[in-house]
């Protein structure tokens, strides 16, 4: 068994291309983050306040859409190919979805960059949460649509590989990595229907001038239909890395393959019917629907807690294989000198903290305290900014040799990079949480309104802003170290010896212990759809009946109102 790049050169090419796109987006988005952190805290202001929103949009879109999803598709292409032991069914389709994703990124990116110049009226200062009433240039929406179609085709590509594998291997359990890819993509198909409808039927026609107005609450609801599960779209590949790569790096094996499958099935079923918890303060959605979304969200703690147990058990097993002993002393036997291990372990630790702040966000009463404050920004810098980004960066130190055939430039430099990210993010994210508790708003270039100082019992705002700025600078240093490291490894600047091929050990409790029903993807998808229908039908019907599809109650609204009345009658 050779390196992935030797076994599957065509697929390795696509993986490298996807990762290259991802890293470019990371660099652009990360540097925008530096500008924001220094601007908002008042230490260095190189842009004016109106440009801040262009920077913010570029930061959000580059990192949470382009960086995360390009990395995801590259990693999934590797996971499918390597675990099924076969290349893409039709390499033209593989190149087509990557091409569409790249095209969509360029379209959306050009629209955003237009906001930096007066030469064109084109702009898309609508932030990552691009719902109405903020309006972007049509190119932005069209680009996002093309990008998402690209991801859909990627899923089709992987499902085709799996179907052919199944024909050739009747009765065999789907390999774990493939199972994880398929459940993630099924969840993605369900989640993206909301944003696809919002973009194609409302936002794009509105920005093109084909309709005069849109129902802002409807586009918000459709966005969050997608906007919360997209978090799990970023997290599920991270979970895959924690389940299949981290135990190997720790020197052991995955504790339980069936438990990992249960976790991914739970994410498929529960991820989508939760989005309304982002809208607790939105008028026009009844409290009962919000309560339902809160309940669904709290159920999502279950797969995360299962993951915490399984991953820690796997790591402990690895540590004991390396000679570790005692209740906690085994921690010292772990390979802390490996940046891939240390980065993923620190990311997992930070994700635990993110889970706690996430429970505050998800609880209706506590949410009222932190809604639209910097607390929320601190939260998602722990989830996507650390659990996802740090894991992606850390796994790159293990993954890059597989797809380039070159050894990592320097493990020591890699370790410095991941630890710097950890320190920077602890300082920045913690301070963000605390200034949020003090009432400092998010999504604003200048948080200091006249006469408002945000005096708080939780440390001085000035000290916390210093922590945010310092953390942001450390993150920038870490980012530049990472990019330099990727460059030096990619082009084998140090001419290091070729890496040895890596194999992933089987789980301690293998797939043969998993009940067959876990592999029934039709069943789990059906249950997921049923939950979505139960959670979303009545709120959306009420939103449309209240304000019409396009913001004005009319003929369409009357029809929907009748439907709601009939449904209420049947339920009653």
């Amino acid at each position: 068994m050779g390196l992935f790049v030797d076994e599957h050169p065509d697929e390795a090419f696509i993986v490298r291309a996807a990762l290259m796109s991802s890293f470019i987006a990371l660099l652009v988005g990360g540097l925008m983050g530096t500008i924001q952190a220094l601007h908002r805290t008042g230490f260095v202001q190189v842009i004016d306040n109106s440009t801040y929103y262009t920077v913010l949009t570029l930061h959000g879109v580059s990192l949470v859409i382009l960086f995360a999803i390009f990395f995801l598709v590259g990693f999934f292409q590797w996971a499918i190919t390597d675990s099924l032991g076969r290349g893409a069914v039709d390499p033209r389709l593989t190149k087509a979805w990557y091409g569409l994703m790249t095209l969509g990124s360029l379209m959306a990116g050009i629209a955003i960059l237009g906001g930096f110049t007066d030469i064109t009226s084109m702009s898309a200062d609508v932030l990552f949460t691009f719902y109405a009433p903020l309006e972007a240039h049509p190119l932005f929406y069209a680009g996002l649509a093309v990008f998402i179609v690209g991801t859909w085709l990627a899923g089709v590509d992987w499902f085709r590989s799996w179907w052919l594998w199944r024909k050739a291997n009747p009765g065999e359990r789907t390999p774990l990595r493939t199972f994880m890819v398929l459940t993630t993509m099924l969840m993605w198909y369900l989640a993206t229907t909301g944003v696809a409808i919002a973009v194609i039927f409302f936002l794009l026609p509105w920005s093109l001038g084909l309709v005069d107005s849109v129902n802002a609450l409807l586009t918000r609801t459709l966005f969050w239909f997608f906007g919360h599960p997209v978090v799990y779209f970023w997290l599920m590949p991270v979970y895959m890395m924690w389940y299949v790569i981290l135990p190997k790096l720790a020197g052991g094996r995955l504790f339980s393959d069936p438990l990992a499958r249960i976790v991914f099935v739970l994410f498929l079923v529960l991820s989508v019917p939760t989005g309304i918890h982002h809208q607790y303060l939105d008028p026009g959605i009844a409290e009962g629907f919000k309560f339902l979304a809160m309940s669904n969200t709290m159920f999502l703690l279950l797969p995360s807690l299962l993951t915490a147990f399984t991953v820690v058990a796997s790591i402990e097993h690895g540590a004991r294989q390396r000679g570790g002993t005692g209740y906690f002393r085994w921690l010292t036997a772990l390979p802390w000198n490996k940046p891939a291990f240390t980065g993923m372990a620190l990311a997992g630790l930070m994700f635990a903290a993110a889970g706690f702040s996430g429970m505050v966000n998800a609880g209706m009463n506590l949410n009222y305290l932190v809604h639209n404050t910097m607390w929320v920004v601190g939260h998602f810098h722990l989830t996507v900014g650390t659990a996802v980004a740090l894991t992606f960066m850390a796994v790159t130190y293990w993954f890059l040799p597989e797809i380039t055939g070159n050894s990592v430039f320097s493990e020591r430099l890699g370790l410095v990079q991941v630890v710097t990210w950890f320190v920077g993010m602890v300082l920045m994210a913690n301070a963000m949480h605390r200034v949020g508790l003090g009432g400092e708003p998010r999504r604003t270039a200048d948080p200091f309104y006249e006469g408002v100082t945000f005096d708080t019992a939780l440390g001085s705002i000035g000290e916390l802003h210093l922590q945010i700025a310092l953390g942001g600078l450390l993150l920038t240093v870490s980012l530049l170290l990472f990019m330099a490291h990727v460059f030096l490894t990619w082009f084998d600047v140090a001419s290091r010896p070729a890496p040895k091929p890596e194999t992933l050990p089987p789980a301690l409790s293998g797939p043969e212990h998993a009940p067959a029903v876990l592999g029934n993807l039709r069943l789990w998808t059906g249950i997921a759809i049923a939950l979505i229908v139960l959670t979303y039908t009545l709120p959306i019907a009420a939103i449309v009946s209240g304000n019409g599809l396009f913001g004005n109650a009319g003929v369409l609204a009357w029809g929907v109102e009748t439907l709601v009345s009939l449904t209420a009658g049947v339920v009653g």
Binding site: G323, P335, W336, N337, L427, N430, A457, L458, E463
Partner: protein, 73 residues
């Protein structure tokens, strides 16, 4: 007592730094206001003392990769 490898020391240092910084605001939450000009030099001295003690009072058994366990197993 076996000294951690350089990697272990580095990760430990990261935790100590963030704890030292965050502890200042934690004290503030508890109503104990310590001036930054006093707290941070004191915290820096404590961190230096901690690492000096680790270097002085532990046995050096780590390999050059910073892997303490690999050196003893």
């Amino acid at each position: 007592m076996r000294r951690p490898g350089w990697a272990g020391l580095f990760v430990l240092f990261a935790f100590v730094v963030v704890f030292a910084v965050e502890f200042h605001t934690l004290l503030g939450m508890l109503g104990v206001e310590v001036a930054a000009q006093v707290y941070f030099p004191a915290a820096a001295a404590a961190v230096i003392a901690l690492f000096a003690a680790i270097m002085l009072f532990t046995d050096d058994e780590a390999d050059e990769d910073g892997d303490a366990q690999a050196a003893t197993s």
